[in-house]
Symmetry: C2
Subunit: 224 residues, 2 copies
């Protein structure tokens, strides 16, 4: 039996590598969805809308890796927290993939109307959300609470832009009813991007919790 159990560190490294791969894929899908929106490119929109399968497969594979690590190695303390965090992060990344699909769906509807306006804030929201996701995963792998804290701060910028997008589009809708439908889709897209930022925030919070719980335990052990 023991011979069949690979080394724990190797398996944990492989898990982290797969999580980073999934993060990269999720980011790429968000970027392509918003690129499809801006360029009104039906092929790119369809690619994101119908291409969730690789991410879903990775989600199942990573979940399985987490279970195997927990079941076969029964890790303690920091390692246990890291793997449970990986289970949560995996769920967050899968939902980011779903949100990329939602953005692509809205982009597809938006492309059937004349453009409401030149898109500036939404691509910027997309850049911020992708950056947050990237930094949150980096913070997880490096156990870097300072970087995780930066991700939390970025969330305010995203919220500010979402409010700005909302106000501006509301003005269009009130002035010209023909913009109501497409403007609604832009509002929905800005909310999907805000939620992607929320998932990055969740990941950053998991990192801070994971690392600080470790510290707390160290202190308890020292004081006992």
């Amino acid at each position: 039996m023991d011979k069949a159990v690979p080394h724990f560190r190797e398996e944990l490294e492989a898990l982290l590598a797969r999580l980073l791969e999934m993060g990269g894929l999720a980011e790429a899908r968000v970027r392509e969805a918003v690129e499809g929106l801006v360029t009104r490119d039906p092929a790119l929109i369809a690619k994101v809308r119908d291409g969730d399968e690789p991410l879903n497969r990775l989600h199942i594979e990573i979940d399985d890796r987490c279970f195997r690590l927990l079941a076969l190695h029964q890790p303690m303390a920091t390692d246990l927290r890291a793997i449970v965090a990986a289970v949560k992060i995996n769920t967050d990344l899968e939902r980011v993939g779903d949100l990329a699909v939602n953005i692509a769906q809205a982009a597809g509807r938006y492309a059937t109307h004349p453009p409401v306006k030149k898109l500036i804030d939404i691509p910027q929201m997309s850049d911020i959300a992708q950056g947050m996701l990237h930094d949150a995963l980096d913070a997880f792998v490096r156990r870097d609470t300072r970087l995780a804290q930066q991700v939390l701060n970025e969330d305010d910028r995203l919220d500010g832009l979402k409010t700005q997008v909302f106000r501006e589009l509301l003005t269009y809708m009130l002035q010209d009813p023909s913009t109501v439908e497409p403007a609604l889709d832009l509002i929905l897209i800005s909310r999907h991007l805000e939620r992607i930022g929320d998932h990055a925030t969740n990941i950053a919070e998991d990192v801070i919790f994971m690392v600080s719980a470790q510290d707390v335990r160290h202190h308890t052990a020292g004081g006992a």
Copy 2:
């Protein structure tokens, strides 16, 4: 050391009881948020908007219970899957609490405008979402995949109502610009309710995965 470790079954039962309590609290907050919307009751709206703390405390407590169970008892197979599922469900319920806050915020804004229409579909969506949440948790505790499957089926009804709400409100917005702002808040609320249904769906999927993985392992063991 062993004397300080409580019995695993007792601790697991306590965890499930707390999860059910949290589910009940999350359901109640969704119900109150939509009641506040319908009755335009500022006190009820404020209660939900500012009252997320008990749910957040339960979230931390349950997370901690899951870690203690994993660390102290190193459970295998079915029990391991149940506890990891509890970690995920705990996250879903916390987000349901956040969505109740979002609904209350939108209800507060909505109450500053004249009502757009008599609200029928949104309270119905709320009832369905609450029922889904309740059934999903029931299915988890009883490991009842049939009930979990019913939850998945209910999600289509919720999606149908969301589309209906959207179409109806779009008509109002196109006909009368003074309805644009309040109608937008109703559309957002219907999406928040849809997302609560999505969280119930996630829980139901975790139940099916938990129970079926158990079966798969039994078969593997039998065949080896």
